[in-house]
C-alpha cells in the first residue's frame, strides 16, 4: 500500500536510447526512492518521509499552477481583447503573477467587525483544501499518481461538492449583503450543475465499466473516448464542459461574483492572502476539472494513436506522457478561458433554466444512449 504514495523529483533527461524507448515511466524512479528510504530509515519513517514529499509536491504544484494559470488567463484575455497584456515584469511579462502574489502576501488580511471571525477565516482554507484533495487521484503521467483509488471518479464528484460549502461559508460569515446574494446564487448553481456534470461523467463510467481513473485511461489505449464513442460521447463532453464551467464559477456562469451586479460576490470582504487563496482555489479547480475532462474524454496521458499507422504511433510514443497530459489539460483550460472572454453572463433564472430544462434532460437521454451503446458494443 505504501508504494502507492509515489513522488516526483527533478529528473535528468534520459539520453541513452538503448534504455526504455516506449513511454517513459516515473515508476522506476519512485520505486528506487522508496527502496532507498526503506533501506535507510526503515519502513515507518520511509512512509512518513514519502508523505511529506508528496505534500510538498502538491503545495508546490498548487502554487505553480496558480502562477501559470493567472498569467495564461491574462495573456489569453489580452490577445482576445486586442491588447498587449502584461509585458513589463520579467521576460515578456511572465513574472507578473509572481509580483502580484508578493503584493497580495504583504497586504493586510482584514476581518470585518460584524463578521463571524472563525468561519470568515476558515472559508478560504476549505476552498484550498478541497482543491488540494482533488489532486490526489489524478494521473499526471504514466505511473505517476498520488493515490490510485479504485473509486476515483466517485471520490472526485464527492469531494468537489464540498467546494460549495466554502463559498456559502464565506458569503454568510462576511455579514455583507452582496456576499450573501453571491453565496446563495452559487449554492443553487453548484448543486444543480453537479447533476449534469455527474451524468456526463457517468457516460464514460458506463462505457469503461470501472470507476478507477487508471482503468479509464487504460481503456483508451486504442483510441480516446471522444473518438471511439460516436456522437453521444461528444454530447457528454460538451455537457461536461458547460457544467464544469458553471461548477467552477467561471464566466458566463460567474454569478457568484457577478462584478457588475454584486461587485465581487462572495469574496467582497476578503483581502490580502485570504482573497488570494480563493483566487488560487478557483484556478486550481479549473485545472482539476480540465484534468478530469482530459482523463475521461481525451485519454489522460495516453498518446494520440491512429489505427494501424505504426510509424506515426511510434513517433507519438516518444512524446513523454506528462506532456500529453498537460497538453490536453491546458487545451481544455484554454477552452474555458475562451468562453469567459467571449460570452456575457447569464441571469440567475436563465442559469437554472439552462440546467434543468436543457442540460439535465439532454444528458439523461444521452446516458441512456450511451448505455445502449455500451451494452450492444457499438463503440469501437
Amino acid at each position: 500500500m505504501y508504494e502507492r504514495i509515489i513522488t516526483v523529483l527533478p529528473v535528468k533527461k534520459i539520453k541513452e536510447k538503448k534504455q526504455n524507448i516506449t513511454v517513459w515511466s516515473f515508476a522506476d524512479i519512485s520505486k528506487t526512492i522508496d527502496q532507498w528510504l526503506n533501506d535507510w530509515v526503515g519502513a515507518t519513517w520511509a512512509t512518513v518521509f514519502e508523505m511529506v514529499i508528496a505534500g510538498v509536491c502538491v503545495i508546490g504544484l498548487f502554487a505553480l499552477l496558480g502562477l501559470v494559470l493567472v498569467i495564461m488567463e491574462r495573456k489569453v484575455a489580452a490577445w482576445i481583447q486586442i491588447r498587449l497584456g502584461p509585458n513589463r515584469v520579467g521576460p515578456k511579462g511572465m513574472l507578473q503573477s509572481l509580483a502580484d502574489t508578493v503584493k497580495l502576501l504583504v497586504k493586510e488580511g482584514m476581518t470585518p467587525d460584524g463578521a463571524d471571525k472563525f468561519l470568515f477565516n476558515l472559508a478560504p482554507f476549505i476552498a484550498m483544501i478541497v482543491a488540494m484533495l482533488l489532486m490526489a487521484p489524478i494521473a499526471f503521467a504514466k505511473d505517476f499518481q498520488m493515490w490510485d483509488l479504485n473509486v476515483g471518479v466517485l471520490y472526485i464528484s464527492a469531494v468537489s461538492s464540498i467546494s460549495v460549502i466554502s463559498i456559502l461559508m464565506a458569503g454568510w460569515a462576511s455579514n455583507n449583503k452582496y456576499s450573501l446574494l453571491g453565496a446563495m446564487r452559487s449554492g443553487a448553481q453548484i448543486v444543480s450543475y453537479e447533476l449534469s456534470a455527474g451524468l456526463s461523467v457517468l457516460a464514460i463510467v458506463v462505457l469503461t465499466g470501472s470507476l478507477s481513473l487508471t482503468d479509464i485511461i487504460q481503456s483508451q489505449q486504442n483510441g480516446w473516448w471522444i473518438f471511439k464513442g460516436h456522437i453521444p460521447v461528444i454530447i457528454a463532453f460538451i455537457t461536461f464542459i458547460i457544467a464544469v464551467t458553471a461548477e467552477t464559477n467561471r464566466a458566463p456562469f460567474d454569478l457568484a461574483e457577478a462584478e457588475s451586479e454584486l461587485t465581487a460576490g462572495f469574496h467582497t470582504e476578503y483581502s490580502g492572502m485570504k482573497f488570494a487563496l480563493f483566487f488560487l482555489a478557483e484556478y486550481v479547480n479549473v485545472f482539476i476539472v480540465c484534468a478530469i475532462g482530459a482523463t475521461l474524454f481525451l485519454g489522460g496521458w495516453m498518446p494520440f494513436h491512429i489505427g494501424s499507422w505504426e510509424g506515426f504511433n511510434h513517433v507519438m510514443d516518444y512524446i513523454p506522457s506528462s506532456i500529453w497530459f498537460f497538453g490536453k489539460t491546458f487545451f481544455l483550460i484554454f477552452l474555458i478561458m475562451w468562453f469567459r472572454w467571449t460570452f456575457p453572463r447569464l441571469r440567475i433564472d436563465q442559469l437554472l433554466n439552462l440546467e434543468w430544462k436543457y442540460l439535465l434532460p439532454i444528458s439523461m437521454i444521452n446516458l441512456l444512449l450511451v448505455t445502449v451503446m455500451a451494452i450492444m458494443g457499438w463503440h469501437f
Binding site: 484575455a77 482576445i80 481583447q81 486586442i82 491588447r83 449583503k177 452582496y178 446574494l181 446564487r185 464566466a251 458566463p252 460567474d254 457577478a258 462584478e259 457588475s260 451586479e261 454584486l262 461587485t263 472572454w341 467571449t342 460570452f343 456575457p344 453572463r345 447569464l346 441571469r347 440567475i348 433564472d349 436563465q350
Partner: protein
C-alpha cells in the same frame, strides 16, 4: 423617504448599489429593495457629483461658460457646447457661416458615434462580456484621434464658440475621417457577431425593462430610450437646427419598448450618423469658420431657449439675460435626469441582473444627471 423605508416588508433586502459600484459608471447611488433576487423598488439618490455647473455659468461670460458644459455629458461634449453656442447665437442674432455649420454637424455626428461606441462596450461589460469594450475602443479611439488633431483635446474639446468654431479644420481631417469610415464599415459586422446575435445576450435583453410609449411621454424620456418604445423624439428631425433639415437621414424607431429595442436603436443610429458624415465629408463649403463677433458679448434682455439632440436625448439650454456680460440664470434640461427617473418603472419585478441591463440601455452619464 422615511415613510417609504417604513413600508418595506419584513424579510426584504435593501442593498445600496453605488455610489461606488461597477454597474453605475460613476457615482450614482441606487437604493434597491429586493425580495430574494426580485426587485421591488429602485430609489436613485443623486448629488454625489454635483458641481453646481449652472451656478458657475452665471459668473462666467458668454464666451467662457461654454467650456464648463463639456463637463456635463462628457461623452457628447461637442453637442453640449453646440447647444450653448446656439443659444448665445440666438440671443445675439449672429449669422453662422456655412462652413462652420457643416463643421459643427460633422463634429456632432462623430461625437455621437464615439459616444455610442463607448455605450456599446460598456453595456456589454455590464452584462459580463468584457471583450466588446476593448473592441469598441478601437473605433472610438480613431474618432478621438481625429478630434485631437483638429480640436487639440480628446474628451473636453471646447471647440464650439459663439459664431462658429474655434479653429479651422486640420488639413488631414478629411483623410482621417475617410479612413475611419473604412474602418467602421469593415468592423461593424463584428458587433453583431459578438454581441447582438449572441443567444445569452438576447435572452438577457429581450422583454427586460419594458416601458410603454405613454410612460415614455409621462416620464419625459427622450433620445434612443424613447425611440425604443416607438416615440418619435429626434430633435434633429422635429426641430431641425443648423443644416439637419437639408440632410438625408432616418429617425430610427423600434416599437418593442424593451432593452433590446433600445439597444438596436442605438446601434442603428450609428449607421445613420455615418450616413450624415458621408454626405458632408466631401462637401465642406469654403469660407470662414467663424463669424465676426464683438469682443465682449452682451445678450439683450430676455429669455432664450435652444434644444439639440445629444447622444442620450434632448438637451435644452435656457438662458435668462439681464443685458449684462454674464447670464442672469442658466438652466440645462439634461436628458440623463429624465431617463433615470424611468428606471424604477422599468425594472420593478425584474431580477437584479435586469437592473444592469436596463440601466445599460438608458446610457446614463452621471455628471449629466447631477451637473
Amino acid at each position: 423617504m422615511f415613510e417609504e423605508v417604513a413600508k418595506t416588508a419584513e424579510g426584504d433586502l435593501v442593498i445600496n448599489v453605488g455610489p461606488q459600484h461597477p454597474a453605475t459608471h460613476g457615482v450614482l447611488h441606487l437604493l434597491i429593495t429586493l425580495n430574494g433576487e426580485t426587485i421591488k423598488k429602485v430609489e436613485p439618490h443623486l448629488g454625489y457629483i454635483h458641481r453646481s455647473i449652472e451656478k458657475m455659468c452665471e459668473s462666467l461670460t458668454y464666451r467662457q461658460f461654454i467650456y464648463v458644459t463639456s463637463r456635463m455629458d462628457y461623452l457628447s461634449a461637442h453637442i453640449n457646447n453646440h447647444a450653448c453656442a446656439l443659444c448665445v447665437e440666438k440671443g445675439m442674432q449672429i449669422e453662422v457661416p456655412d462652413r462652420a455649420k457643416v463643421i459643427r454637424v460633422l463634429m456632432d455626428e462623430l461625437t455621437r458615434i464615439a459616444s455610442h461606441e463607448l455605450w456599446w462596450g460598456a453595456m456589454a461589460m455590464d452584462l459580463g462580456a468584457f471583450t466588446p469594450f476593448f473592441h469598441a475602443f478601437r473605433e472610438r479611439e480613431t474618432i478621438n484621434d481625429i478630434m485631437e488633431e483638429t480640436c487639440g483635446a480628446r474628451l473636453t474639446m471646447n471647440y464650439m464658440v459663439p459664431g462658429g468654431v474655434m479653429q479651422d479644420l486640420h488639413p488631414d481631417f478629411q483623410r482621417r475621417v475617410k479612413e475611419f469610415l473604412v474602418l467602421y464599415k469593415r468592423k461593424i459586422h463584428e458587433y453583431d457577431e459578438m454581441v447582438t446575435g449572441n443567444i445569452i445576450f438576447q435572452n438577457r435583453m429581450k422583454g427586460v425593462g419594458y416601458i410603454s410609449p405613454e410612460d415614455v411621454i409621462s416620464y419625459g424620456v427622450t433620445g434612443p430610450a424613447a425611440r425604443g418604445s416607438g416615440v418619435s423624439s429626434d430633435i434633429r428631425k422635429l426641430y431641425p437646427y443648423e443644416i439637419y433639415d437639408k440632410l438625408q437621414f432616418d429617425e430610427v424607431l423600434e416599437t418593442a419598448g424593451d432593452s433590446f429595442a433600445r439597444y438596436l436603436v442605438r446601434l442603428r443610429e450609428m449607421d445613420q450618423s455615418i450616413r450624415i458624415v458621408e454626405q458632408l465629408i466631401d462637401n465642406i463649403p469654403e469660407g470662414d469658420f467663424q463669424a465676426k463677433t464683438k469682443a465682449v458679448l452682451k445678450l439683450p434682455k430676455g429669455e432664450f431657449y435652444t434644444r439639440v439632440e445629444t447622444a442620450r436625448g434632448e438637451l435644452g439650454v435656457y438662458i435668462v439675460s439681464e443685458g449684462g456680460t454674464t447670464p442672469y440664470r442658466i438652466k440645462f434640461r439634461s436628458p440623463g435626469f429624465s431617463n433615470l427617473s424611468a428606471l424604477d418603472h422599468m425594472v420593478r419585478g425584474g431580477k437584479l441582473g435586469d437592473l444592469v441591463a436596463s440601466m445599460g440601455t438608458l446610457d446614463l452619464v452621471i455628471p449629466d444627471i447631477d451637473r
